[in-house]
C-alpha cells in the first residue's frame, strides 16, 4: 500500500518533469508521454485509495495525509476531464507540478489509519468531503488556468511572441474556462458548507460553531462570491479575474493545510 502511494508519486513526478520539458520543446511524443505518465500515476493512485477504503471501511480522507492525497487525485481527475473537453495545449505542464507538490506534502504527513470517532461515522462524511474536494479541485484548476492566462497575457502585452506563446491557447478561451471552473467550484463549495452545517446540526445541535475551518471556509466562499460579483457586475475579466482566482486558491490551500496545522478545531480529524 505504501508502495502504491510512492509509485503514484513517482509517476506524477515523472509527468511533471516531462511537462516542464514540454514547455521548452514540445512534440507529439512528449505530450503523449506526459499524458501516459499522468494516467499511469492516476491509475495506481486510484487503486491506492480503493485499498485504503477497503482496509478502513470508510472514505480515506480522515487524516491530512489521506485528505491531500484525495485532493490531488480529484485535481488529476478534473485535469483529464478538462483536457478531454477543451484540449487546450500545455495544461498538463502547468497542472502536474501542483499535483506533485500536493502529493509530496501528503507523503510527509503521518499515514496510519486511526479509528474514527462515532461522530464522524456518518454518510455525511462521504457527501460533505467529496463535494468539498471536487470544488477545491475546480478552484485549483481555475487558478492554474489563471496562471496560464497571465503568462500568455504577459507575452501579448510585452510583445514577446516566442514559441511558448505560439503553443499556449488564446486568451479568450483561457478566461472562459477559468470562469466556468469557478462556476462549477462555487456551487460545490456552497453544497459542501451546507451539508457540513447539516452534519454539525445533527451531531452537535448547532449548525455553525465558528470553528476555524468553518470561518475559513466562509472566507473562501466570500472570496468566490466576490469573484463572481466582480465578473458579473463590474466586468473584472481577464487579468484581474485571473489574479482573483489565484488568490482564491491560495485561501483554499490555507483552509486546507494551514487551518489544520496551525489552528485547532472540529476538523482536526482525530481527537
Amino acid at each position: 500500500m505504501v508502495i502504491l502511494f510512492e509509485l503514484a508519486l513517482t509517476f506524477y513526478f515523472a509527468a511533471t518533469i516531462v511537462g516542464v520539458v514540454e514547455l521548452f520543446r514540445s512534440s507529439k511524443a512528449t505530450t503523449r508521454m506526459m499524458m501516459g505518465l499522468a494516467a499511469l500515476g492516476f491509475l495506481i493512485h486510484t487503486v491506492n485509495i480503493i485499498l485504503r477504503y477497503v482496509l478502513s471501511n470508510h472514505l480515506p480522507i480522515t487524516n491530512l495525509h489521506e485528505a491531500s492525497s484525495f485532493f490531488a487525485w480529484s485535481i488529476v481527475l478534473l485535469f483529464f476531464y478538462v483536457e478531454y473537453r477543451y484540449r487546450i495545449g500545455l495544461l498538463g505542464s502547468f497542472i502536474m507540478p501542483v499535483v506533485f507538490l500536493i502529493m509530496l506534502s501528503s507523503s510527509i504527513l503521518p499515514r496510519e489509519i486511526k479509528p474514527l470517532s462515532p461522530v464522524l461515522q456518518s454518510y455525511w462524511l462521504g457527501i460533505h468531503t467529496t463535494l468539498a474536494f471536487i470544488g477545491d479541485a475546480a478552484f485549483a484548476m481555475a487558478a492554474v488556468i489563471g496562471v496560464m492566462y497571465l503568462v500568455q497575457e504577459h507575452f501579448l502585452k510585452r510583445k514577446q511572441l516566442g514559441s511558448l506563446f505560439q503553443r499556449l491557447p488564446n486568451l479568450q478561451i483561457l478566461d472562459e474556462i477559468n470562469y466556468r471552473l469557478i462556476t462549477i467550484g462555487f456551487p460545490l463549495l456552497t453544497l459542501a458548507i451546507i451539508t457540513g452545517a447539516l452534519w454539525a446540526e445533527s451531531a452537535w445541535g448547532s449548525y455553525w460553531r465558528w470553528d476555524p475551518k468553518e470561518v475559513w471556509s466562509l472566507i473562501t466562499w466570500f472570496i468566490y462570491v466576490f469573484v463572481l460579483h466582480a465578473r458579473l457586475r463590474v466586468g473584472w475579466k481577464g487579468k484581474k479575474a485571473a489574479y482573483l482566482s489565484i488568490i482564491g486558491f491560495a485561501v483554499v490551500l490555507f483552509t486546507f493545510f494551514g487551518v489544520n496545522l496551525l489552528l485547532k478545531g472540529m476538523h482536526t480529524f482525530v481527537r
Binding site: 510583445k159 486568451l171 479568450q172 473584472w236 481577464g238
Partner: protein
C-alpha cells in the same frame, strides 16, 4: 522552342529602376503586343509587381534573343541601356523553369512565403491568355508553376507563419480571441496595407465590419467593398464600445485615440478585450493605451518584429520547398524533351519501321518459297510507301516552327507515340 526569362527584382535593382520598368495599366497591353512582334518570339507572359518585372518568352534561340530583349526593354521604357546592364538577369531552358517555379512558390520573394505573388502570377498569365499571347509550351509551363506553388504551400509550413504584416495581425488576433466569427471590426482611415489586413481578417471569418473615414464618401465606398457599414469619423469613438478589433491607418499627423478615451470605452464595454493595430506612420494611437488592462496595441514596428522572427522559422521550411521545386523542375524537363522535334521524328520512323518489318515477315511466310531478289523487290516497295507517308509530317516538324509544338502533340497522339508526358 526555348524558354527565356528576362527580368529584374528587388535584389538586382533599386525601386527607382523597377518603377521605370514596370508594365502597369495600358503599358502591359502594348508591351505584350510589341513583344510578340519581336523576331523569333512565339509566346510571352509579363509579370509586373512592385518587387519584380519579368518577361517569360518562348523563343527560337535564347542566345540570339538576349540582346534583342535588352534593346526592347530600354526602348520601350525609354531607359538608357547602360542603366539596365547590371540589373537584368537572363535565364534560359532549365534555369528559367527553376526560376519561375521558385518565384511562384514565393521562394524568391522579399518576404519568403508571402502568398500574394501566386495571385499576381495567375493574373499575369490570365492576361496573356486573353491576349492570346501564349503558346502550348507557355500554357503548360505556367499551369505547372501554379500547381507547384500550391504543392509547396500544402506540403510545407512556409506560408503558415505570419508572412506579411497584415497576416501577422490576423495571427495575433487569433491569440486574443477564440473565434473571429463573432468579433466586430473597425477600419479607421484607409491605406493599402490596412485594406490588405481587412481582407485577411474577412477571409479568417470576421463578419461585422465598420469603416470610419475622414471623407465619409470614401468610407461608404470601402464599406461597400467589404460588405460592411460606414461610420462618420466624428462618431467612431462611440462605435468602439462594440468593436473588438481596430485597424488604424488615418495618415493624421497626431493621435486620434487617447488613453483617456480608451479608458472610458473599456469601462463601457465591461473590459471585453480589444485588439488595436496602428499601422499609420506617424502613429495615430497613443502608445500608453497598451498599459490598459485587456487592451492590446501593436504598431507597425511591433508587427514587423513578429514578421522578422517568423522569418527564421520560415527559412527552415524554405529548404523543404526548394527540394519540392527541384523535383518538379526535373519532371517538367522530362516532359519538355518529349516536346523536341527530333525524338518525335525518330520515334515516328521507328514506329513505321516496326510496322514495315512485321508486315514483311508475315507476307513472306504466307507466300513462301520466294527467292532473294523477289524478297528485295517487295521490301523496296514497302520502304518507298513508308517513306512517302512519313515524309510530309517530318518536313512539317522540321520546318513549320510556328506550329511545331501543337504538331508534336498531334503526331504523338495520331501515331500513338508516347513520350514522358504526364496528365
Amino acid at each position: 522552342m526555348k524558354l527565356l526569362v528576362t527580368g529584374l527584382n528587388h535584389k538586382t535593382a533599386p525601386v527607382e529602376v523597377r518603377e521605370r520598368l514596370a508594365f502597369d495599366g495600358p503599358k502591359l497591353e502594348s508591351g505584350i503586343e510589341a513583344l510578340l512582334r519581336l523576331d523569333g518570339v512565339s509566346g510571352g507572359v509579363i509579370l509586373s509587381t512592385c518587387n519584380r518585372v519579368e518577361v517569360y518568352l518562348t523563343v527560337q534561340d535564347p542566345e540570339r534573343s538576349i540582346p534583342l530583349m535588352k534593346r526592347f526593354l530600354s526602348e520601350f521604357h525609354s531607359i538608357k541601356p547602360e542603366s539596365l546592364e547590371d540589373a537584368l538577369y537572363f535565364y534560359s531552358g532549365s534555369e528559367g523553369v527553376r526560376h519561375l517555379f521558385r518565384v511562384a512558390s514565393s521562394l524568391d520573394s522579399m518576404v519568403v512565403g508571402e502568398p500574394q505573388i501566386l495571385g499576381q502570377l495567375k493574373d499575369a498569365f490570365d492576361f496573356a491568355l486573353r491576349k492570346k499571347a501564349t503558346d502550348v509550351y507557355l500554357n503548360k509551363l505556367m499551369k505547372k508553376a501554379i500547381s507547384v506553388a500550391k504543392r509547396v504551400r500544402t506540403e510545407t509550413r512556409i506560408a503558415e507563419n505570419a508572412v506579411s504584416i497584415s497576416y501577422a495581425a490576423v495571427e495575433l488576433a487569433k491569440k486574443i480571441f477564440a473565434d473571429l466569427e463573432t468579433k466586430t471590426f473597425m477600419l479607421l482611415g484607409a491605406g493599402e496595407m490596412a485594406e490588405l489586413a481587412v481582407r485577411h481578417l474577412i477571409t479568417n471569418g470576421v463578419r461585422d465590419v465598420r469603416v470610419a473615414n475622414r471623407t465619409y464618401e470614401r468610407g461608404v465606398e470601402l464599406a461597400r467593398e467589404f460588405c460592411g457599414r460606414a461610420v462618420r469619423f466624428e462618431e467612431f469613438k462611440d462605435e468602439l464600445v462594440n468593436t473588438d478589433i481596430i485597424i488604424c491607418s488615418t495618415g493624421a499627423p497626431d493621435y486620434v485615440l487617447f488613453k483617456s478615451d480608451m479608458k472610458r470605452i473599456m469601462k463601457e464595454r465591461k473590459n471585453r478585450s480589444v485588439f488595436i493595430i496602428d499601422i499609420s506612420v506617424p502613429r495615430n494611437v497613443d502608445p500608453a493605451i497598451n498599459e490598459l488592462d485587456n487592451v492590446y496595441l501593436y504598431d507597425v514596428d511591433d508587427l514587423q518584429e513578429v514578421v522578422d522572427s517568423n522569418m527564421l522559422e520560415r527559412r527552415k521550411e524554405a529548404e523543404k520547398a526548394e527540394a519540392i521545386v527541384e523535383e518538379e523542375v526535373e519532371k517538367f524537363l522530362r516532359w519538355e524533351t518529349s516536346l523536341d522535334a527530333v525524338p518525335v521524328i525518330v520515334a515516328l520512323r521507328q514506329r513505321a519501321e516496326e510496322i514495315k518489318s512485321e508486315e514483311l515477315k508475315r507476307l513472306f511466310n504466307r507466300l513462301g518459297g520466294l527467292d532473294e531478289r523477289q524478297k528485295r523487290l517487295i521490301e523496296t516497295s514497302f520502304t518507298a510507301v513508308v517513306n512517302r507517308l512519313i515524309h510530309p509530317p517530318t518536313v512539317a516538324l522540321k520546318e513549320d516552327a510556328e506550329a511545331r509544338d501543337s504538331l508534336i502533340v498531334l503526331i504523338r497522339r495520331l501515331y500513338g507515340i508516347n513520350g514522358d508526358e504526364e496528365e
